[in-house]
């Protein structure tokens, strides 16, 4: 289902480009709401700042590495992500939230939920893929790790003391076993 990209995609673009004018606008628009909601729900200003930054970084990474496309307005989207993050945090700290339903904001549209679900799902996936990655042999982990860090293949080969050809071959094998593992994890679930 191809949905139209929302005009607020410009915030995502600004975030990816580290555009301080746009990022300033994001903070200006959202700070008060996030702060008051989190403080109302047993958090501090610091908690609010941390949660907001975490949420923005998630969105940033998703946009940068997986070309996130926003099909809903930005503000309710990021607010919803922050709320879910904070509710999770409260669960971790075993504190009961004051508001335990996110639906308390009536004007949140269905698209916003779908977009936030997607991001959450992606985050969960990246964690589970990483777990699979950790189960690989040491050599494989090294090769994938350094390649994904964005180092030039030649540099990676040199660092690991192997030839460029061997590195490519080994990386394909390692990635194939990783994907196999991910697939079997999925069928187990």
């Amino acid at each position: 289902m191809a949905k139209k990209i929302h005009l607020d995609q410009r915030y995502i673009v600004g975030l990816v480009n580290n555009d301080t004018v746009i990022i300033n606008e994001i903070y200006k628009r959202c700070t008060a709401k996030i702060k008051s909601w989190i403080v109302f729900n047993n958090g501090s200003d610091d908690d609010a700042a941390d949660i907001f930054q975490e949420a923005l970084m998630d969105v940033y990474r998703q946009a940068k590495y997986k070309s996130l496309e926003l099909t809903c307005p930005f503000e309710p989207y990021i607010l919803l992500i922050c709320k879910r993050k904070w509710l999770n945090e409260l669960k971790k700290r075993s504190i009961l939230p004051v508001t335990n339903k996110e639906e308390d904001l009536l004007h949140i549209g269905e698209d916003t939920f779908a977009n936030a679900d997607y991001l959450e799902n992606q985050e969960a996936q990246s964690k589970s893929f990483f777990k699979a990655f950790e189960k690989l042999g040491e050599r494989c982990r090294e090769i994938i790790w350094w390649s994904m860090k964005g180092e030039a293949q030649e540099t990676v080969a040199e660092t690991l003391g192997v030839t460029y050809g061997y590195l490519r071959k080994k990386k394909s094998e390692c990635m194939a076993s990783l994907i196999k593992m991910v697939q079997s994890d999925k069928t187990e679930e």
Binding site: T31, D45, Q125
Partner: protein
């Protein structure tokens, strides 16, 4: 198993581990094989999702630093300042009430005499904490150490370390800003202005912080004319605007 072979082929294709001819053959096969297409899409998805977790480039760190600095500005400054203003009244009034009239006279006297106008610099200095987003390479460790010194007001030690970072990465606005402020604090005003005006000419988050600090460096030297001129560069809506206006009024 069939699936495994296909998976490896897809991996080799995407990782550039195929000779030209094999690659072309694979691309033809790909067009008609739905399972292969699906595997390719899945491969890319897993690859990029994992990459999101592993890759952490300088760009990412810079974005995180920008967010951290805005977070500080928006979430912490206002609340913190208010708390500081209100706290002394609550605690100190009761036990000292009999001294209050004496104190009042003294305070009024002081207000008229205003001996601290010589020290407007300290009063209006930005009490920003230097915060460094955690990173692992060596440059960053130096920054973290510098932040420790800076926040405990050991500006000489901070300046030394920040000088190192700044020389290596002159485009690092965080390092430049705190380097500039440390230079002011250690009395190297000229050098400080050189660093900070460069920062002001750029387009970083620290643009107007830099202007404000330059103004303060002139306040320190009692060059009110220059101080006022720098303060006037700080636009309405930026964090230091109110402080800058207040300070301008005092200097006029």
């Amino acid at each position: 198993m069939m699936n495994e072979d296909k998976l490896l082929t897809v991996a080799r294709y995407l990782e550039g581990d195929m000779e030209l001819q094999e690659k072309e053959e694979f691309e033809i096969l790909l067009q008609s094989d739905a399972e292969l297409q699906e595997l390719k899409a899945h491969y890319i998805d897993v690859h990029d999702t994992l990459k999101m977790k592993i890759a952490s480039t300088e760009d990412d760190e810079q974005v995180e630093a920008t967010l951290a600095s805005f977070g500080k500005q928006y979430f912490k400054n206002e609340g913190g300042a208010k708390a500081e203003e209100q706290a002394p009244y609550v605690v100190s009034l009761q036990p000292y009430i009999k001294w209050l009239s004496v104190a009042a006279v003294l305070i009024i006297g002081l207000l008229v005499w205003a001996p601290w106008s010589a020290n407007l610099y300290e009063k209006y200095a930005i009490s920003k904490e230097m915060s460094v987003v955690e990173r692992s390479d060596n440059g960053q460790n130096t920054l973290e150490k510098a932040a420790g010194f800076y926040n405990s007001r050991d500006y000489a030690a901070a300046e030394k370390l920040l000088n190192e970072v700044y020389t290596k990465e002159p485009a690092n606005s965080l390092a430049a800003y705190y380097y500039g402020v440390s230079l002011i604090e250690t009395g190297k005003v000229e050098e400080a202005r050189a660093v900070l005006s460069k920062l002001y000419e750029g387009e970083s988050v620290f643009k107007y912080d830099a202007a404000y600090s330059i103004a303060l460096s002139y306040v320190k030297q009692k060059d009110n004319q220059q101080a006022l001129s720098w303060l006037s560069k700080i636009p309405q809506g930026s964090t230091n605007y109110d402080k800058a206006q207040e300070l301008s009024n005092k200097l006029r």
